[in-house]
């Protein structure tokens, strides 16, 4: 056993006496005193070591730069080309694979018009056989969307409403806090004056002839929605198109008198509120098996089919306004 190292017993006693072995070593070192020469020597060694480290670091940095240059060069030339080609090939492969799966699926699906296909079940049978009797609507589609599945259609009308609100969020340019036009607004106005047609005689004459007919046709389609093909969505789209034509021919000054944000808000608010509240009543009475005052009436009459006619009108007004507002917002961010 080496005598310079303390034995286990010595260590234990030292620990009991609460003294560390390290202290002894330190005391010895201190007693030796400082050696100035040794210190200088140490310093030189350290400096040499530092210099070596610095050199190594510099070469590493140079190598890294060279490597980076090479990679960078490659990605800008050969690499970019390879990546683009690979990416395109991959896209083509994915598209072809999806197409193939879809075609396989088409082969597997029941044939179109097949009498035995699963779609021809008791649900569609009831719509066709009892639809008119239960909803009072001669047009089965109107009966389906506005009476049997009215909740989905309420959702769809809300989709239009929320889409209009989203476009308003994105595109509407407002007056500033003090009610004065902003620079953006003035620029949009100028841009609109510059690019859009004005006082185009051919357009104005044909619009004057066509717009009343288009609006009338749209109104007919909405009001006859429960009797013949059509309804709120299609009729509203026609009215909206007529209004857009009028706007194009006569400009915002002419349409602004009857159609501005205030009117838009009032119309959509009233229509959707009416839709929501009327359907709340109908859903609530239906679900709780209460008596409802809404009756289907005599199929074929203009005032029949319970709520379908008013709902068609509400939907039609929302669709027409939404189309017009979309157009106006995309054109100059306002009305």
């Amino acid at each position: 056993m080496n005598s310079s190292k303390p034995s286990l017993k010595q260590k234990f006693t030292a620990w009991l006496e609460n003294a560390s072995m390290l202290d002894d070593a330190m005391e010895k070192d201190l007693a030796k005193g400082s050696d100035l020469k040794a210190q200088e020597n140490e310093k030189a060694v350290y400096e040499a070591w530092e210099q070596r480290q610095k050199n190594r670091h510099d070469t590493a940095v140079q190598e890294e730069h060279a490597l980076y240059e090479r990679i960078h060069h490659w990605t800008m030339t050969g690499g970019a080309k390879t990546a683009t080609i690979l990416y395109r090939l991959f896209c083509i492969f994915v598209c072809l694979a999806v197409t193939a799966f879809m075609l396989m699926m088409v082969l597997d699906m029941p044939a179109y018009g097949n009498a035995n296909s699963p779609v021809n079940n008791e649900v569609s049978a009831r719509y066709i056989e009892k639809g008119m009797e239960e909803t009072g609507a001669v047009n089965i589609v109107a009966g389906m969307i506005l009476d049997y599945r009215a909740f989905d259609t309420l959702g769809e009308s809300t989709v239009l409403f929320i889409a209009a609100c989203a476009v308003l969020t994105l595109l509407r340019i407002d007056l500033n806090r003090h009610g004065l036009p902003t620079e953006e607004l003035i620029a949009a106005e100028a841009d609109d004056r510059h690019h859009e047609p004005k006082d185009d005689v051919i357009l104005q004459r044909s619009a004057a002839l066509l717009v009343p007919i288009i609006l009338l046709f749209g109104i007919y389609i909405i009001f006859n929605g429960h009797l013949s093909p059509g309804g709120g969505f299609s009729g509203g789209a026609i009215i909206g198109a007529g209004m857009i034509l009028y706007l194009n021919a006569f400009g915002f000054k002419a349409t602004g008198k009857i159609m501005n944000f205030r009117v838009f808000t009032v119309i959509t608010f009233c229509s959707l509120m009416f839709y929501g509240l009327a359907k709340t009543y109908s859903f609530f009475t239906g679900a709780n098996h209460l008596h409802s005052i809404i009756s289907p009436g005599i199929p074929g009459n203009i005032f029949s089919a319970g709520l379908i006619l008013p709902l068609n009108i509400a939907v039609g007004m929302v669709v027409a306004c939404t189309m017009y507002v979309f157009y106006a917002l995309f054109r100059k961010g306002g009305m």
Binding site: M105, M109, S117, I162, T169, F269, M273, G276, H289
Partner: protein, 496 residues
């Protein structure tokens, strides 16, 4: 029929009508409407949950005068009412916590539009939770998608507009896939009502008829909802959308909208297609695989991120990975753990986004880590909330994240085989990675500031209060979670 059973219908229709009503209101009134609405919906759904706990039976609710396959129908069970309550609570807290930022970041004239979006988003969340009809689900997904895009772009700067565009492109692709899937499912079963499709699918599966179509339908619907909930590798739209929009929007998007899609996917797996059919198509294996990859890569991206809000956003990718991993096990326990984690993550992530924005506010509006030093002292509520959220996400005991990790691990051990090993390893690695970025942030917000702090406004009292409440909710979720876990388990059993 007990009157309280009208709650699902009332909460959906009330949210829709409030949205429409807000279009005629000025910003302050619209704001009050939204806050009152979410509080009322929360209260109603808690009452419904209590009722469901007493009766213990799910029920369907006829929307109109025609019974189910002919008319629309919604369905309520314990799981649905719990989810609806959670969604309403988080919406309320996210709005209250971010009101000052909404005021600051959104043009004054457009603020009522923001609250319309919030109302209609709540309506669509509730409809997705309660619907019993696939087409109704699709209609409300449309509303949800548009509302989400509008919530992102309502703060009109370049980042948000780019993020909203990206969000819209990815989500419309997903909507298209989903619609194709639903149409094809209708083509081979002839139904849109969930319970009827389930019967037909069980028949088809037993006879082996339309096998290809059924597989493609499962793939289409799953991929669509994975894109919408940002499962890896579809997460590309997420960091910008969560990182730059106004904090309330980020909180709603991460905690409500993406969760509602995952919930819908679980509902479709259980109530429309049937879990055994899904497992037989092998879709769960794919979800499991991508869930695991997402867990790891999401955390790695978060570690590389220097912007605190984008870091929290990347952590969402990782947490969504956890949820899909649980779903990918395909067992009852795995799905319960996934739903539990969904709730835990929703509660923690909305709080993290709001508190991160609070911390940024008191640090001169710079999102990097160095200026954030000491912000925990400058905004005490945000600091505390961020710490609680970070601890929960890392999975420290007494916080929610720990329990969901335990549930994931135990469900994986029940599953056994190689998958148990993978789950345990992934949980361990991911916990380590989470610790690296979350605790680093927590430590740095409590270190003394090294540079001069620019002048800042005192944090708003309302948002501080909301953050304290959220922190309390998170701690409560972590410590008192057994009833929640049992409610989820009972609710999931009511599904089939």
């Amino acid at each position: 029929m007990a009157f309280i059973q009208n709650v699902p219908f009332f909460s959906i229709i009330l949210s829709m009508i409030s949205g429409i009503f807000s279009s005629a209101l000025k910003r302050k009134a619209a704001r009050s409407v939204t806050i009152v609405l979410s509080a009322v919906v929360l209260a109603m759904n808690i009452m419904l949950t209590v009722f469901m706990l007493q009766t213990g039976e799910s029920y369907t609710y006829m929307m109109g005068h025609y019974p189910a396959p002919f008319g629309n129908e919604i369905r309520a069970g314990l799981l649905e009412s719990v989810m609806a309550s959670v969604f309403a609570l988080i919406l309320l807290m996210s709005l209250l916590g971010g009101l000052n930022k909404i005021d600051e970041q959104i043009q004054e004239q457009k603020q009522n539009l923001y609250f319309i979006m919030a109302d209609l988003m709540l309506a669509s969340l509730l409809a997705l939770v309660y619907t019993n009809d696939l087409f109704t689900a699709y209609v409300f997904i449309e509303i949800n998608t548009i509302a989400a895009a509008a919530l992102i772009m309502s703060r009109q700067n370049g980042h948000c507009l780019a993020a909203a565009t990206r969000y819209m492109i990815m989500n419309l692709l997903a909507s298209g896939l989903l619609l194709m899937g639903i149409t094809m499912l209708y083509g081979i079963t002839g139904h849109l009502l969930m319970s009827n499709i389930r019967e037909s699918v069980a028949n088809l599966f037993a006879t082996g008829e339309y096998h290809t179509s059924l597989t493609v339908v499962v793939v289409l619907i799953t991929v669509a909802l994975c894109i919408k909930s940002a499962l890896f590798p579809f997460q590309e739209w997420l960091p910008d959308a969560y990182g730059y929009s106004t904090p309330s929007s980020a909180a709603m998007l991460s905690s409500l909208i993406s969760k509602s899609y995952i919930f819908l996917l679980i509902k479709i797996f259980y109530r429309v297609i049937g879990m055994e059919v899904v497992v037989s198509t092998g879709m769960t294996n794919i979800l499991f695989l991508f869930g695991i990859i997402g867990m790891i890569l999401g955390s790695v991206s978060a570690i590389r991120e220097r912007d605190i809000r984008r870091m929290v956003a990347f952590s969402s990718v990782a947490q969504i990975g956890y949820i899909y991993m649980g779903l990918g096990l395909g067992t009852r326990e795995g799905v319960i753990a996934a739903i539990f984690h969904m709730i835990i993550h929703a509660a923690a992530k909305s709080m993290l986004f709001l508190s991160a924005s609070g911390l940024i506010d008191v640090s001169g509006d710079i999102k990097q880590f160095r200026p954030l030093r000491g912000s925990g002292y400058r905004h005490k509520a945000a600091g505390a909330a961020f710490t609680v959220g970070a601890l929960s996400m890392v999975g420290v005991p007494l916080f929610g994240g720990f329990l969901s990790k335990v549930y994931f691990a135990s469900s994986a051990l029940d599953f056994g085989g190689i998958r148990a090993v993978i789950v345990l390893a992934a949980l361990a690695v991911s916990t380590l990675l989470n610790t690296m970025y979350f605790l680093h942030t927590v430590i740095s917000i409590y270190r003394p500031a090294t540079q001069e702090v620019p002048a800042y406004n005192a944090p708003s009292k309302l948002s501080s209060a909301a953050l304290w409440v959220m922190a309390a909710v998170n701690v409560a979720l972590g410590t008192l979670s057994v009833p929640l876990y049992q409610a989820i388990a009972r609710g999931l059993d009511m599904f089939s």
